[in-house]
């Protein structure tokens, strides 16, 4: 099977703001909104900024992990790249084309497997095949992918009959069936138990080694980010629901970290442990780490 051509990703000046729903909350909420309108000049509707001033370039074949506190826009960034959402400002490019909607060069693996319950495992994987794949080729491609994720024996089972880890592997195989130039993974292992998660991480690295593709991985697991990625991008929450005025908003990306060493990494690597503490403290977690640089990382 030919390897997919990995594509670069270029994100420039991306901003995503959602209008604050008018019907939410009671009278108090409406009052505070009207006050806020007064401060911003009367006509500007209140909005919640999720991402702002995001600039990021991902090399072809690179694995980039995106971390950050919940609500910081990690998933939104991925949805923008997958064409499931449109930015309020800025552009996202895959290869040299601007993302305008879902397209065949990207594939998304969601946090939930999202398998169609009435289809078998093999039929679910077949859903990922690009339209127009010759009928004769479909069965062999599906068989290859199932073998890649170690599910050949389960091909004829339905999603209800398999475990969560297996379902997540089916989801991964379905995403890979597109031969994506960019693979977008939104906390793909987040719902799995700890041991299965470690196995799935190995699985992902194996698949990536066999078929190098650009991977953007959203995770809340700092250790996972450091173990899998070439670079870790840390995001922060730009507006905390208080609808701070646009001029106050700082860039979403706080830090881009090059992870030292080559994969497969030593899970017990001291440098990684040090970085993990550093990143966690940047996320506002108390680590009780005693030695050395416990300073929160500087903003870039």
């Amino acid at each position: 099977m030919s390897a997919a051509t990995a594509l670069p990703v270029t994100i420039t000046g991306v901003r995503r703001a959602f209008p604050v729903p008018a019907s939410r909350g009671g009278r108090a909420d409406r009052a505070s909104r009207s006050v806020r309108r007064g401060t911003t000049g009367g006509t500007v509707p209140a909005e919640r900024i999720v991402l702002d001033q995001v600039d990021l370039t991902v090399e072809p074949g690179e694995i980039v992990a995106v971390i950050g506190p919940s609500g910081c826009g990690k998933s939104t960034l991925l949805r923008l790249l997958g064409g499931l959402d449109t930015p309020s400002a800025g552009t996202l490019r895959i290869g040299d084309q601007i993302v305008t909607g879902t397209d065949t060069r990207t594939a998304i693996g969601f946090q939930e497997p999202r398998l169609l319950p009435w289809r078998t495992v093999a039929q679910n994987v077949a859903l990922g095949l690009p339209r127009g794949t010759p009928r004769s080729e479909r069965a062999t491609r599906v068989a290859e992918l199932l073998e890649l994720v170690g599910l050949t024996a389960s091909a004829d089972l339905r999603p209800r009959q398999i475990s969560g880890g297996m379902a997540q592997r089916v989801s991964l195989a379905r995403a890979l069936a597109r031969r994506p130039g960019v693979l977008l993974l939104d906390e793909p292992f987040g719902a799995l138990d700890a041991l299965t998660r470690l196995r799935m991480q190995e699985e992902l690295l194996r698949v990536h080694a066999a078929r190098p593709t650009t991977v953007l991985l959203v995770t809340h697991d700092v250790e996972e980010a450091l173990y899998l990625a070439d670079r870790v991008v840390a995001l922060r929450t730009v507006s905390d629901g208080e609808h701070s005025p646009v001029s106050d908003v700082a860039p979403s990306v706080v830090r881009v970290l090059d992870v030292p060493g080559a994969r497969p990494r030593d899970r017990a690597d001291a440098r990684l442990a040090e970085l993990r503490v550093e990143l966690l403290e940047g996320l506002g977690v108390v680590t009780h780490h005693v030695s050395g640089a416990s300073e929160p990382y500087p903003a870039i």
């Binding site: 093999a122 004829d156 339905r158 597109r178």
Partner: protein, 280 residues
């Protein structure tokens, strides 16, 4: 979307499942199909026995409730000149035609209302109001417009079959898991392919239960149609026997309606089982 390999895998899944159910060690007595049938017939048998007892002992007078034997005699009598067969056949034909037309329309309109916000806004209020009209209220109007023929009866039954399908399908489509729809979109399904690939399969169990309700409602509306203007059919038998004081035939008509309704419901129940087996 269904390819040859799809069918093969589905077939092998079926055979696999058959193998697993065969190897299931012990099932309680009530799970066996034969036991279920016998159990279901227990109450009717008791009712029949009670009927026989109260009529032969003279507890209930014969002009109010004839004996089972005289109802049977009425059935044999009507069957011998072919009327029983004719009435049952014409009623079944009306139900099936009306059901087919009404449920097909219900499926289409339900899809429009369930999937498009515009369709919902434009149609749901009006349809909700029409649904509130009792079945008998349509009869004079339909007779005026469509004359006393098959058309008016089938139209009435179609109205009856339309609403259960429309309601269940539109509600179910509105609540299809948005995650699955999004997954479908990510993998290149849109418009019709999204409808047939994700949305319709997702609501298939609701569609079948809507069909089942619609069929029951079709029999209800059949009697409404035949009570008032007809010269054939089980509803006609009912009202004609009432006018002539033939209580035995009235009971026969009711028993026939119960039997035919149960029979058609059992057929659609088989369909439902097949669909759900494929779905889960």
């Amino acid at each position: 979307m269904t390819t040859v390999s799809d069918q093969q895998t589905a077939a092998s899944t079926r055979s696999q499942r058959a193998a697993t159910t065969a190897s299931t060690p012990r099932r309680s007595l009530l799970d066996r199909r034969g036991a279920a049938v016998v159990g279901g017939l227990l109450l009717p048998a008791l009712l029949l026995l009670g009927w026989q007892l109260v009529t032969t002992t003279g507890l209930v007078l014969a002009y109010k409730l004839p004996t089972p034997a005289s109802v049977w005699a009425a059935a044999v009598d009507l069957a011998s000149n072919g009327d029983l067969y004719l009435y049952t056949a014409i009623s079944t034909q009306r139900v099936l035609l009306g059901f087919a037309i009404g449920s097909a329309l219900g499926l289409v309109v339900g899809a429009v209302v369930g999937l498009s916000r515009l369709g919902d806004v434009l149609l749901s209020t009006t349809l909700g109001a029409i649904r509130a009209v009792p079945s008998l209220a349509w009869v004079p109007l339909l007779i005026l417009w469509l004359k006393i023929g098959e058309e008016s009866k089938i139209t009435l039954i179609a109205i009856g079959a339309f609403f259960p399908v429309y309601t269940t399908v539109s509600a179910a489509l509105r609540h299809v898991d948005p995650h699955l729809v999004e997954a479908g979109r990510v993998y290149g399904l849109r418009g019709v392919s999204l409808l047939t690939g994700v949305q319709l399969p997702a609501v298939l169990p609701s569609v079948v239960s809507g069909l089942r309700l619609a069929l029951a409602q079709s029999w209800l509306f059949l009697v409404a149609a035949e009570l008032i203007a007809s010269s054939m059919g089980l509803g006609f038998l009912l009202v004609d026997s009432g006018n002539n004081g033939r209580v035995d035939r009235m009971i026969l008509a009711i028993v026939m309606l119960a039997l035919m309704g149960k029979l058609t419901d059992a057929l659609i129940g088989l369909l439902e089982r097949r669909v759900l087996r494929r779905w889960t």
